[in-house]
């Protein structure tokens, strides 16, 4: 799945254009960064309410495709700048995390790559 398709399904604004060549291969939802650090995957779309700079560090560590913020959350400029540098797309959706995960799953984005 492309990042554009994720953004369309999520009705999301793209706050940072990452590396749009990255294929979105799987999804995950969690707000504890230490937890995600142990479970992240390449190409992951990660749904979280955390907007701290460490989110981008964890996402780039795993070469994730995008970070998806629910409930219309925003991210600070400096954090978005880092996301662009690291090639991580940041999307902000008006939908809840629950709804986002349901939508993405229904459209074929599962929790494991492949």
């Amino acid at each position: 799945m492309t990042i554009e398709l994720v953004a369309r399904l999520a009705q999301a604004n793209i706050l940072a254009h990452g590396d749009h060549a990255r294929d979105v291969t799987c999804g995950y939802a969690c707000d504890l960064l230490s937890w995600v650090m142990a479970r992240g995957q390449k190409g992951m779309a990660w749904v979280t309410v955390q907007t701290h700079l460490n989110v981008i560090a964890v996402a780039s560590l795993h070469e994730m495709a995008c970070v998806l913020l629910p409930d219309g959350l925003e991210m600070e400029g400096a954090v978005l700048e880092k996301a662009r540098e690291e090639g991580i797309a940041v999307l902000s959706s008006p939908l809840s995390a629950y709804r986002l995960c349901g939508l993405l799953y229904q459209n074929g984005l599962h929790d494991l790559p492949g």
Partner: protein, 229 residues
């Protein structure tokens, strides 16, 4: 000199702490345990600091005024101040950051305000266990604006910096962290081992020492720079 310390204590004002955690009880227990230096760090408030400051003085303990603040990320951050006045000034600004939720004592516990003789002055009505509106870095700057120093609490436990945010962000400029005695911490940090006592029996024994002069400015700069200066 080396001071035996416990820099993470809750009073009866924290809803989750025992009602026995009054100024006289805590100070007596700290003396029995052989401590030289204690800090009061209630959740998102400095409401009992004045009472503890006075009681600690009576019992010959050095008292560091503090708070345990919960940032928007739900990271627990200890704030320590160089004087009671600075801490009370910060406390007066906290209602702006705390939000409007009221405590539910039946659900969360009592939030008891006391004087230095353990007399009950009343109940704090604002809910003290929520997250502040400020992010981690904003909360650090806020603490610094009152000449205080921020130390992340129990970094590997629930609500700890590393537990929530995965690792210690360099941007926040921490030089001291609180951790468990068995935690592996980068040697560049001054590591504090305080009790986080919510009841009298859990206050630290004389087992962890900090190198500093016996005054608050020296303690604050030790925490600020990670070394005794």
């Amino acid at each position: 000199m080396k001071l035996a310390y416990d820099l993470h204590l809750h009073s009866c004002l924290s809803p989750c702490a025992s009602e026995d955690m009054t100024p006289q009880n805590v100070c007596r227990m700290a003396r029995l345990n052989g401590l030289d230096l204690i800090a009061l760090t209630d959740h998102n408030t400095g409401g009992n600091l004045k009472a503890f400051d006075q009681a600690a003085r009576e019992h010959g303990l050095l008292f560091l005024p503090g708070m345990e603040l919960c940032t928007a990320e739900e990271v627990h951050l200890l704030a320590y101040f160089p004087s009671l006045e600075a801490a009370l000034e910060a406390d007066a600004r906290l209602p702006h950051l705390r939000g409007s939720m009221k405590n539910r004592p039946d659900y969360f516990g009592q939030q008891t305000l006391v004087d230095h003789r353990d007399r009950v002055l009343g109940q704090e009505e604002a809910f003290l266990l929520g997250a502040l509106a400020t992010s981690l870095e904003e909360t650090v700057s806020w603490i610094t604006s009152f000449h205080g120093v921020a130390v992340p609490a129990h970094i590997h436990r629930s609500y700890g910096l590393v537990q929530v945010l995965g690792f210690i962000p360099q941007s926040a400029g921490f030089r001291a962290v609180e951790a468990g005695p068995k935690d592996q911490i980068d040697e560049n940090y001054l590591v504090l081992h305080s009790s986080d006592a919510h009841e009298l029996g859990l206050i630290a024994q004389k087992e962890h020492l900090i190198s500093a002069e016996k005054n608050l400015d020296s303690i604050i700069s030790t925490l600020q720079y990670g070394i005794t200066v």
